[in-house]
């Protein structure tokens, strides 16, 4: 008996890793992500063959690539969700430094693929868009800085994070990639907001935006024309927006039928920025509403779980990641129905794109890692501190 116990390998007190992971993970969000990826593959089957045909590639070339990169992205996501938040933070900060350097090197080693914007590193078989990877890493890093400022005697993290944001936004705007720049600015904004931005500053900012917008509208004819064009209810049916709008109209509520759509033949970005139009045309509003519901579930449910979070860093980083994810989906779909001015932005997990799907996997992995159920010290509060 003694022999059997003495000197044996010590057994950890905790639960095994996988059961604990399954118990604590946000299973709803996880399922939604998988469903979105599945929908993305389904739509890719319809939307990408025209492009493959034009480039003399095998019929489902883009679908195969998407499955390949998507699997990598989803595995990365699962792997990250299993990590401890602090480990995630450590890796993210390291990754941020790497992505930042990659972004800075873009003007020297990048390619623009003839699209006029230096956004990609080309490696022959695949190309990488560093700004996609920078986004989640930046959110986590900025959250860390802002959270540090909440400690007594901590560093002025808000100022640091603001400076960091400004540098990145300027770099992205110079590419030019205003969509990503806006996303980065937006995610920093929500983190600052949740992290305790003074109210008067928020009101002042809103006022500045209104005044600035009015001045720009009155002062700049170009700006005014853009806004008028956006507000104008008539759509030129030969523009991308026009085709997308028509596709949504054609689809109606039940769609024209699987593979029966035509918009994928006229829209060059049918498999990326305007994939929602393909979904609307072939499967109708039923699928569109489902997609919207999935994004809404992921975003709102993550925010809801973060409500209970007591660690300021986890709360902020989670907020930033969830909001960036949600707003990206919102902008993509809002553009297709002209709620927002045209802006190229992918639909996370659904649009085709290797960088996009892997980066989204990383971001959602980190978000899921942050929203895992963990002890929040409520009992400690009750026992140690004065109850409230």
């Amino acid at each position: 008996m003694t022999e059997m116990v003495y000197g044996s390998i010590s057994v950890s007190e905790g639960e095994p890793v996988l059961p604990r992971w399954w118990r604590t993970i946000d299973k709803w969000t996880l399922s939604c992500v998988f469903m979105l990826f599945g929908i993305g593959i389904l739509l890719g089957l319809a939307a990408s063959p025209p492009l493959a045909e034009k480039n003399n590639l095998p019929y489902f070339y883009f679908v195969q690539r998407q499955v390949f990169f998507g699997s990598i992205g989803l595995m990365t996501m699962i792997f990250i969700t299993m990590m401890d938040p602090h480990k995630v933070r450590r890796l993210a900060v390291v990754g941020f430094v790497g992505a930042f350097i990659a972004l800075a090197l873009l003007p020297f080693f990048g390619t623009d693929f003839g699209k006029g914007a230096m956004r990609w590193f080309s490696f022959g078989f695949a190309s990488v868009q560093p700004s996609e990877f920078l986004k989640p890493a930046f959110v986590i890093t900025a959250a860390w800085l802002i959270a540090a400022a909440l400690e007594v005697g901590g560093p002025p993290g808000r100022l640091y994070s603001f400076m960091l944001t400004s540098v990145i936004v300027i770099m992205l705007a110079l590419q030019p990639d205003f969509g990503q720049a806006a996303l980065v600015l937006f995610s920093w904004g929500v983190m600052y907001f949740v992290g305790g931005a003074p109210l008067f500053l928020l009101v002042g900012l809103a006022g500045l935006v209104v005044i600035g917008g009015t001045l720009a509208y009155n002062g700049s004819e170009h700006f005014a024309r853009r806004i008028d064009g956006f507000l104008n209810p008539d759509i030129d049916p030969t523009t991308q927006i026009g085709y997308a709008t028509n596709a949504i109209r054609e689809g109606g509520f039940f769609g024209v039928g699987v593979g029966e759509g035509t918009v994928k033949w006229s829209l060059p970005d049918a498999h990326t920025d305007f994939i929602i139009a393909v979904a609307a045309e072939e499967y109708g509003m039923i699928l569109v509403f489902s997609i919207i519901a999935l994004y809404a579930t992921i975003t709102v449910r993550s925010l809801w779980r973060l409500l209970r979070e007591r660690d300021p860093f986890i709360r902020l980083a989670g907020t930033g990641l969830a909001c960036a994810f949600g707003v990206q989906a919102f902008i993509n779909m809002g553009v297709a129905v002209r709620l927002l001015p045209a802006k190229g932005m992918t639909l996370p997990f659904v649009s085709y794109g290797g960088s996009s799907v892997i980066a989204s996997g990383i971001a959602l992995g980190a978000l899921l890692a942050f929203t895992r159920t963990r002890p929040q010290g409520e009992i400690g509060d009750l026992l140690i501190r004065r109850g409230r």
């Binding site: 006229s266 509003m285 809404a296």
Partner: protein, 591 residues
């Protein structure tokens, strides 16, 4: 807000020191408490703000969903290459006659254009297109279809059967755009009045129709104005009368071998033109191009409005009327008539060397159409008074009728209006006016003596009387003289039973094109008539260009043998259509 506790409260420090405890523990404890307090407050604030964010996202996604549903509920439109710019309003108001019958309307035809990048078999399409439209150039089509062009017009307007043939080619790159086009269902009838239209700005979905001539151009703004709500333009023209008048005039012109003819039928009281014909004419549905030298031979030339001619003896009635108006003569005043009338080295004789005796009464001067007597009357009137009178009848200005061409038709007046001019103008030479001028002047003189303005627009409501040109008695006396001309004078062929036609003939030698003198075998013959002479309703002017009557031993070129019988036939057939009751009873009693 609670009072902030100091990190090292002196009382506790001193107490701890005295009891030998480490006072730093107190500071650490206070620091921890303060820290926790701060974290609690930030957490609460963050919770509130997270809720706000969550609500924002929920509403944002709901809005996207609603908007998607809203867009999906609308009907799709077909994407087409649309030329930029404002949309073209193609609707053009109809033109009706005075009884509401259609003179001009629109119909939908199609234009044919190609989007070569959509084409499946450009060579086959080009081949087939040339079969349908032989005027197309095949090589050129193939070049356009296989080149880099994204859009090209093939035909601006095609007929339905051509459209079907193009449809049968079955190429998706050949597309049709709707085209409103102007249709004149009556063909040549009233061609000069209506004028014509052409395409202005063109887009795929429509093309602008703009008036090219005639009333289509003069009232273009009205016809195109969408604010009129498609209210048609109603003309004073009576389609039945127009049809009859054209038929008779056309027949007369050919019987008399004339090269051109014009006729104007005007309401004496309102100045409304009930019918106006100019021959040769054209079909406004396909306006002809004219390559001839002489503009007046162009079928598009409106002889009734644009053609200014010396209308000869028809002017004598103005001299007679003015003499009566001035009170210097009555219808029975005797006037010397022995030819020739000498003025300086000039001699004025009678037509074909006639001699109407030493004296003629004013009435007989008109009936016999004596140049010499008229010259005497004109001499008594004098230059100034004659100019004033002719001006008051509208002979000095272009007619204000609603046709673009009218403004360009200025009467030809003598540059120096000498007494000799006055003498010749008295019998209608030396002044060139259009038949429409003459119609308006006759109406003004004979309707009781008030000026009328010629118009093509149907008049609504009571007509205000124009300025007075002669007294009613003078007007009546003039009508009696004209009636006498038809009853017993040079225009006896114009005496239509029951309608009491009055009128004056006019035969003028045609001036040579080179401006030197006159042809002796080419005449412009005119008959200016009014009916019924006792209660005037209409004035009819008929003018024939180079008409000749050859039934006799010698060719006859006077108005009495040419214009008068044509006018008589017109009145005989048109008067019943106009609803004038023939005065058969008194006629029967008189016989």
């Amino acid at each position: 807000m609670s009072m902030r506790t100091p990190l090292r409260p002196l009382a506790r420090i001193l107490k701890a020191r005295s009891s030998g405890e480490n006072p730093d523990a107190i500071e650490r404890e206070n620091l921890r408490l303060r820290h926790e307090e701060m974290r609690d407050s930030t957490r609460l604030r963050a919770e509130g703000r997270l809720l706000v964010l969550g609500l924002c996202f929920v509403s944002a996604f709901v809005v996207v969903g609603l908007r998607m549903g809203q867009v999906a509920a609308t009907t799709p439109e077909e994407p087409r290459a649309v030329t930029t710019g404002t949309s073209i309003l193609a609707a053009r108001a109809d033109i009706l006659d005075r009884n509401g019958r259609i003179l001009a309307t629109n119909r939908t035809t199609h234009s044919l254009y190609a989007q070569p990048q959509e084409m499946i078999d450009p060579l086959y399409a080009a081949n087939e297109l040339v079969k349908i439209f032989p005027d197309l150039n095949k090589e050129r089509l193939i070049r356009d279809f296989t080149g880099s062009r994204k859009f090209l017009w093939i035909k601006k307007q095609i007929a339905p059967e051509q459209q079907q043939a193009v449809h049968d080619i079955g190429d998706p790159g050949l597309l049709f755009g709707p085209r409103e086009s102007r249709l004149y269902p009556n063909g040549k009838l009233a061609a000069h009045i209506l004028g014509g239209t052409k395409f202005g700005r063109e887009g795929v979905m429509s093309a602008e129709i703009i008036g090219q001539s005639g009333i289509e151009r003069y009232r273009d703004d009205y016809l195109r104005d969408p604010a009129n709500g498609d209210k048609p333009l109603q003309l004073s023209i009576d389609l039945s009368v127009q049809s009859t008048m054209r038929e008779v005039l056309f027949g007369g012109m050919h019987l008399l071998d004339a090269k051109g003819a014009a006729a104007v039928l005007m309401d004496v009281n309102t100045g409304e033109i009930v019918s106006m014909v100019s021959l040769p004419d054209f079909d406004p549905n396909g306006r002809p191009t004219f390559a001839g030298q002489n503009a007046s031979d162009n079928p598009r030339f409106n002889r009734a409005v644009q053609g200014v001619y010396e209308l000869g003896s028809t002017f004598k009635i103005f001299a007679a009327a003015q003499a009566m108006e001035l009170g210097i003569m009555t219808p029975n005043t005797l006037i010397p008539a022995t030819p020739p009338f000498r003025w300086g080295k000039h001699r004025i004789g009678e037509f074909e060397g006639h001699n109407y005796g030493p004296n003629l009464s004013l009435t007989n001067m008109i009936v016999k159409s004596s140049n010499v007597a008229t010259a005497h009357v004109a001499q008594q009137i004098g230059v100034t008074r004659q100019k004033e009178f002719l001006k008051s009848l509208g002979f000095f200005d272009p007619t204000p009728v609603e046709l673009t061409e009218a403004a360009g038709a200025k009467p030809l007046l003598p540059p120096h209006w000498s007494e000799l001019s006055t003498l010749t103008i008295g019998y209608g030479h030396g002044i060139s006016v259009s038949p429409l001028h003459l119609a308006a002047a006759y109406s003004s003189l004979l309707n009781g003596g008030t000026r009328v303005t010629p118009t093509l627009i149907k008049h609504q409501g009571p007509m205000p009387k124009g300025p007075r040109v002669v007294r009613p008695e003078v007007s009546k006396a003039s009508r009696d003289m004209l009636r006498a001309v038809v009853a017993e004078g040079t225009a006896s062929f114009g005496d239509v039973r029951g309608y009491k036609v009055g009128g004056k003939t006019g035969t003028a030698d045609k001036p040579r094109e080179n401006g030197r003198g006159y042809y002796d075998d080419k005449t412009i013959t005119t008959f200016a008539s009014v009916f019924p002479a006792d209660a005037p309703k209409y004035v009819l002017i008929v003018t024939l260009d180079e008409a000749v009557e050859t039934s006799g031993p010698k060719p006859r070129r006077t108005a009495g043998w040419t214009a008068v019988p044509v006018a008589g036939e017109i009145i005989r057939r048109v008067a019943p259509v106009l609803g004038i009751r023939p005065d058969i009873e008194t006629l029967a009693l008189a016989q």
